[in-house]
Symmetry: C2
Subunit: 621 residues, 2 copies
């Protein structure tokens, strides 16, 4: 794979990325790319088929273990048959769908002043992605949002694509089990009853169900018409719990190639969306490279760039600068914007009794602006205009929690609650303007108060999908906040949070490197999967059942491949038992060859068979 990813051309100012940045970006080992077709030939949803060895039964027969299907966020980068040239970007999968709706038009020049300046900036020329596709916008001020179509009763190809993805090819898996004895089939498909709270969990996700959830505002499908490369995905509590990974340059470190590489690395490990939180130089150019190569929706916080434009002086921010930034990023293709419109002037004094004040970057910038001007937050006062812009590109608004608690002490305080009420008010405005809405949530919350945060949000915001940062369940484990927060994330996901923003081990300490990003994503895949099992999403337990069968049968490679991180699992196994033959050994280093509990329990089964107790056991076991 490495040899297929290059950043062209040579000789640009941006230093050619060193090899380490491009290493390890290929498909995850042990799985095969397949595409599940929807109702039309251009709905082809990528999945990973994890092939498994057959089982050697004690009586000499063999039993087939069909492949397990997992949805795949890595786009064409995860398909060994496809060659991606980063300098050209991904193919525009959604372009025909957007075009056939006939409600958009293209334009040659950017509508944003800054966008035009960037195009004219010769200094940045060597860094620039060579974009060939024109900018697209709604024709005649129409709504071109998935919410608009959903309200109108239209099931878009995007909705159907996302629906197919949610089902993870479960029918094919079930059919492949038909060859197995009924007892074995029952084992592999069994699942504990879930507790989904108020979420409706359909037996199968259909395009129509997706439409209904989007129309009701309970689900969001972020899909800017200028990011046709993205593969549609859903955020809603009736669906698989999603995770977001943050990347971004900052004043202190990083660069364009590094950020593109981090994005690709993130989607390889399973990030469902990526937020580009860059704050350093060349934000515009970095974002373009990321968008043109991202198979997943990209989110940003436009305020960060607006602040750069006024040289970091919060009080110099203005609606005009911000508005131009929204349009600039809208035209590039950002799929959702975090907008801190809920932090009102009157909320600011509520933060005074806090231990850690305002920890949200966006929140503190807007608070700084409000007090400098003694004026209401211009994002709040211009919120309807913001929605007018967003609906012309189908950008979802993620209403930022600028007053989220940054410590256990500040959790669930008056400032947080006051802002949440405003977020609910804004959510209603956005929806009435056909803009899809997410609500951002905390932060730091002790475990016994995690669930009430979802309840409050659903009530205040008419069930808009909740999107939380963790929450961290304590303050005192720097270096391990992927774990302190995975606990909170799993619980809040179970209760109904639709997307979990990851936290890496470097939280509070520094910028995450590649390994931190991987650790953070896997920790959040775990939290999301724990939530899906607990809610009882259909088929959620298939992967666990397959893994446990592989474990019981000592199919080591299958265990690695079915896991969230096949490479680490293999490496860890090989630390103790590196020989190739040990991949088939009927023991492991934990107990050694003479002492294996799994082997002994196999003997118990054999005894039971002999004793005539086998009627209770699955055949062949």
């Amino acid at each position: 794979m490495t040899d297929k990813i290059e950043i062209h051309p040579e000789g640009r100012a941006e230093p050619r990325p060193d090899e380490t940045l491009l290493q390890g970006l290929g498909p995850l080992p042990g799985s095969r790319r397949v595409y599940v077709r929807g109702s039309r030939p251009d709905i082809l949803v990528p999945m990973r088929a994890v092939d498994q060895d057959q089982t050697q039964l004690p009586d000499g027969r063999v039993e087939v273990n069909p492949p397990v299907f997992l949805y795949d966020t890595s786009g064409d980068f995860g398909d060994p048959e496809k060659k991606v040239d980063i300098a050209r970007g991904l193919p525009a999968l959604r372009e025909p769908w957007i075009e056939e709706r006939g409600d958009t038009e293209t334009t040659a020049a950017p509508a944003s002043r800054f966008g035009r300046e960037c195009e004219a900036d010769s200094e940045a020329a060597p860094l620039r992605f060579n974009r060939t596709r024109p900018i697209r916008q709604a024709r005649g001020g129409r709504s071109v949002t998935q919410l608009h179509y959903a309200k109108a009763g239209i099931v878009t190809p995007e909705m159907e694509f996302a629906a197919v993805r949610e089902n993870m090819n479960r029918r094919a898996y079930e059919e492949s089990l038909q060859k197995l004895p009924p007892e074995e089939r029952r084992l592999l498909l069994a699942q504990h009853p879930g507790r989904p709270f108020e979420a409706e969990i359909p037996p199968e996700v259909t395009g129509e169900f997706v439409r209904r959830e989007i129309a009701a505002g309970r689900a969001v499908l972020p899909a800017n018409i200028n990011h046709p490369e993205s593969e549609p995905m859903l955020i809603g509590r009736s669906f698989l719990t999603k995770i977001n990974a943050n990347i971004g340059t900052s004043a202190v470190s990083s660069g364009i190639a590094g950020e593109v590489s981090k994005m690709l690395w993130s989607v390889r490990w399973g990030a469902d969306t990526v937020m580009d939180l860059s704050t350093g130089r060349h934000i515009h150019e970095t974002r373009e490279w990321i968008l043109r190569n991202s198979p997943v929706p990209i989110g940003t916080v436009p305020l960060y760039q607006a602040l750069e434009k006024v040289k970091g002086v919060a009080s110099d921010l203005s609606w005009e600068v911000y508005r131009d930034t929204l349009i600039e990023q809208a035209e590039q293709g950002v799929d959702y914007f975090t907008i801190h419109a809920g932090l009102r002037l009157e909320h600011i004094p509520l933060t005074l009794p806090r231990l850690t004040g305002i920890v949200s970057r966006g929140g503190s910038i807007m608070a700084g602006w409000c007090i400098a001007h003694r004026e209401e937050n211009f994002l709040y006062s211009h919120f309807e205009e913001i929605c007018e812009i967003l609906r012309r590109y189908d950008i979802a608004v993620s209403l930022g929690d600028g007053l989220r608690p940054g410590s256990i002490y500040d959790a669930c305080d008056a400032a947080q609650k006051a802002e949440l009420r405003t977020l609910g008010e804004l959510a209603r405005v956005a929806r009435s303007r056909d803009v899809q809405v997410l609500i951002e949530g905390p932060g730091h919350i002790p475990m016994q108060r995690v669930m009430e945060n979802v309840e409050d949000e659903l009530a205040a915001c008419d069930e808009a999908p909740f999107y939380t940062l963790g929450p961290l369940t304590m303050d005192c484990a720097p270096g391990y906040d992927h774990i302190t927060s995975a606990i909170g994330a799993a619980m809040i996901g179970w209760r109904g949070t639709a997307m979990l923003c990851y936290v890496t081990p470097k939280e509070h300490l520094g910028l995450p490197d590649r390994e931190d990003v991987r650790e953070g994503i896997v920790a959040y895949k775990i939290a999301a999967h724990a939530a899906d099992l607990a809610k009882g999403l259909p088929g959620a337990q298939i992967r666990d059942n397959a893994m446990s069968k592989a474990r019981f049968e000592f199919r080591w490679l299958d265990q690695f491949h079915l896991g969230f991180d096949p490479e680490k699992a293999l490496a860890m196994h090989d630390e103790t038992l590196p020989k190739e033959s040990m991949k088939k050994a009927h023991f492991c280093s934990m107990c050694g060859p003479k002492f294996c509990s799994m082997r002994i329990s196999e003997e118990v089964r054999q005894w039971a068979l002999k004793e005539g107790l086998a009627g209770r056991a699955p055949s062949g076991r």
Copy 2:
């Protein structure tokens, strides 16, 4: 510290441990050893006092940040003033307390046959710890257990020691805050209301409260009279949630020096008990080295060694071999035994419908024995005799869950539940014989079924302390099971599990190395602390509040030192900002110098002060 730990003498067969085994075993950086005295001069409870820098207030004044106290499991190894010679072991802290009770006697020769054989084994001589203290046992068959004393109304020095430890010197901390303005004091002592379910949480732990909880069987204080080096600690749901780390040689790897080093490493990071699960050669000798140097209670599974004695053939096990092993280990000083007495012959067919059979090593050995002999589990049928042995040394019994589920599929099944009922029956037998009882629990449990496991256990076992392995909330993340299980552990701890057995990243893959042990322990310290916050244990939030204040004030070193892993926090911070001056920088690498949200929110406070809104803010903020 490294230079103080040596294994003497030279020239023994056991290879001298290489330097890497002894590295990094000194006290954690940034804290100072203090001792909190109880009612008598020999009750001196070790704590770590985490000293903090003062705060520079905006008005030029400084504010003192008093040290935060944390209990310390590292014994004399964590005291830089004390030199420990591993070849001599730790001082026998509890010996005078045991002696003054006058109910024990010493004996020169081991009562166990195997113990005598080991003493006579010239081949093992070079490996042997040179024990000088005679073996101790109850005089005239008396009960010498903490449960016996508690029932008799006696508050032992052990109970008082453990009570002092639970309070973590909170009164001294509160007093040290008297100098601060009332608002600041309130901040640092504030805590969210907890939800302790049925657990009684006293405002302060007293020796009498400890006695009452032990007498009621709701708490266990493991304290073999032959392990007087151990520092008393409590396991009960009214107390701080405890964690156990497993170590142990196996047929495939490791050695004595490595295991002693792992034990010291474990207590350095905060393991409250350590289980020695060795299964390879020289189990007896390894255990002696560990016990003589362990400041925390040591647990074992005597069955593992009994099986070694019959060359690994489960069907050759007998009550005689097992009984001799109990006495052998009792005389060495093991503080608690995991005994798989609850797995009855009639339960075995209940495991046939399982996906992963019997995954407990002890459970599978006993199942193997039962079916080979068509006989009831001899641990069940001899349980009263077992209790007779245990009460003569004060060994707690940890009733093993030999039928714990090894996969999500098998969670909460009939086999698990049947065994739990038997564990309840055995718990009542043990208590009637004055033997302290813990109940072991799963395993693999999906999140929505975690809490019912505690409820079932408390009901079936008359509230005996629950001691669970995780539970893992899914099967499919090999390499990350410290995280899949930290989620379950935090939740089950909140619900009332008293001790959490750690799971390392190597679970299901291999034997944990030092870094795995550290990761596993810290993940479990996190789970335990999340549980303590959620239950609302008094003072649980002190550390978080102090950390968050340090964070808000950019006291970087204080943040590292207050964390669970000061060394990793420092190293991670230094990856991005290595310069010494950056430890005092009023920004971090996440946002850079111009963009710090914490700095901006400090400006908000300044504004509020000017605007006359300061009445709501703590003074000086």
